[in-house]
């Protein structure tokens, strides 16, 4: 490093980094969070179901996803999704699926397993009497779950769900391996083009730190607030 730290490269690529890269990262995080929580809650309900086969399927899925590295899952889906697409659309050849679509599907499916474990603990944290009270009032399974159990489970687990989302936000940077242009991917492209690896990667680290630290501070504050109420 004889030229010193070159801040100029960051200034020059600012628009590209945030308008393209960060938009990709944040959008992916939000979609995967929403999808992951929805699928995760369904998986948790399946896992707690009295109908054993349903519980086994959900358990197997969750354990499988939690036992393999996210990178391997990213590769799996990157190559598998085109075939699944062909199968669904009844096309003879694998469908072209971009890095974006592949990333959305991967992170939704992968995070669902992690959200499922959180939601399972959440559902189990609701007193059994609540379920019985629901049934006693004449509500069916879905009504009891939707109106009585899940709202309480969500509330109890809100801080953990949000912490998981911060981890998801950081993990989306792994889409680098399928050459997607997320925040890290965009920075890496600029870094290699201008040969400014030190500046770009340091900058990326600082940005991720500021966002993750800010969010986790907010979550901590929320946690303290909820803790007092309960």
């Amino acid at each position: 490093m004889d030229s010193g730290f070159d801040f100029d490269v960051i200034q020059r690529s600012w628009g590209y980094l945030f308008r393209e890269g960060m938009t990709f990262t944040v959008t992916l995080t939000l979609i995967a969070m929403t999808g992951g929580i929805v699928f995760g809650t369904l998986l948790a309900m399946m896992r707690l179901s009295a109908f054993k086969p349903l519980s086994w399927i959900a358990g197997a899925y969750v354990n499988l996803m939690r036992s393999v590295p996210l990178l391997l899952v990213i590769f799996w889906f990157f190559f598998l999704v085109p075939y699944i697409g062909a199968w669904i659309l009844r096309e003879p050849n694998p469908v072209k699926v971009g890095a974006w679509m592949s990333a959305v599907i991967t992170f939704t499916m992968f995070e669902a397993a992690y959200y499922a474990e959180i939601m399972r603990a959440g559902i189990q944290s609701v007193a059994r009497g609540q379920v019985w009270a629901g049934y006693a009032l004449g509500l069916n399974y879905w009504q009891t779950m939707g109106k009585v159990v899940l709202p309480q489970a969500f509330r109890n687990m809100l801080p953990v769900l949000l912490t998981q989302t911060i981890i998801l936000f950081q993990d989306t940077s792994l889409v680098y391996v399928i050459s997607a242009t997320d925040f890290l991917g965009a920075a890496s492209k600029v870094a290699n083009r201008d040969y400014r690896l030190v500046e770009m990667y340091t900058f990326v680290a600082v940005v991720y730190f500021v966002i993750s630290y800010g969010l986790s501070t907010l979550v901590k504050r929320l946690q303290d607030r909820i803790a007092i109420v309960r």
Partner: protein, 252 residues
């Protein structure tokens, strides 16, 4: 689906001529484990130290510990990997930096990967250790002091032996996490299991056989670790001291 399955590919020679593809993958597992174990040693040492220091009554030590934890927890692993691999050699004195950059493969990526994973994991261990210590009744520490033990002795003989037993289950899953996280080292060129599955896909075009084999190897490793840790848990269990179920932690 137009995909030609050929499981026999696993027994065919890989282009590097070091053996079959299956052997190629298993050597990859060896690298994953070598990375994970070395990182694990670093993580346990630093993590236990930082976690313990954060429970001491010295405010500036606690603050320093918190700073360490926050820095390495809030930067994505792959970015930390790049910092160790691309940035660190540039910031060191020229000679040392050049020496690191010229290390022959795979050491040039193995060493940064181990340092990165070790420190990344140490933060998670530190959090567990701190939580374990804080979950003990305060009376334990006081009893130690009342018996005339120094602060260091209280930690050594009273608090830490109990705390480590309590946190053994979450530590097990941290060990699994290190093995899984070692796959990120493929981004700096370390050919560990996932990296080799990817390479096999590129050489042979048999994507799904390669990934399926890697997945099965990961699952088996997982099982071995879980069984081993369960045996360890049984061995160190103190009758009457039942480890709490613990609250679910977010993770990946």
């Amino acid at each position: 689906m137009g995909y030609n399955w050929n499981w026999g590919i696993l027994l065919e020679k890989e282009p590097g001529a070091t053996g079959t593809y299956l052997q190629y993958l298993i050597v990859g597992l060896g690298w994953s484990l070598a990375t994970a174990l070395a990182a694990w040693v670093i993580a346990l040492v630093i993590g236990s130290l930082v976690g313990t220091l954060r429970t001491t009554p010295m405010p500036w030590v606690v603050r320093l510990g918190n700073l360490y934890v926050e820095i390495f927890r809030n930067i994505p692993l792959i970015v930390q990997m790049f910092l160790w691999f691309f940035v660190m050699p540039e910031l060191l004195p020229q000679e040392l930096g050049d020496w690191i950059k010229q290390m022959p493969p795979p050491w040039g990526s193995y060493i940064p990967a181990v340092l990165c994973l070790g420190i990344y994991t140490s933060v998670r261990i530190a959090e567990q250790v701190r939580a374990g210590i804080q979950s003990l009744p305060r009376g334990q520490g006081m009893a130690g002091t009342a018996m005339g033990l120094t602060a260091a002795q209280t930690y050594r003989y009273v608090i830490l032996p109990q705390a480590f037993r309590i946190i053994l289950p979450p530590i097990t899953s941290e060990f699994m996490n290190v093995i899984k996280n070692s796959s990120v080292a493929l981004t700096i060129g370390l050919l560990e299991l996932t990296g080799r599955a990817r390479a096999m896909q590129e050489f042979s075009f048999h994507v799904f056989e390669a990934f399926a084999a890697a997945t099965v190897i990961y699952l088996l490793t997982n099982m071995v670790v879980v069984l081993g840790m369960r045996a360890l848990e049984k061995k160190v269990r103190v009758p009457g001291l039942i480890a709490a179920g613990g609250t679910p932690m977010a993770g990946h």
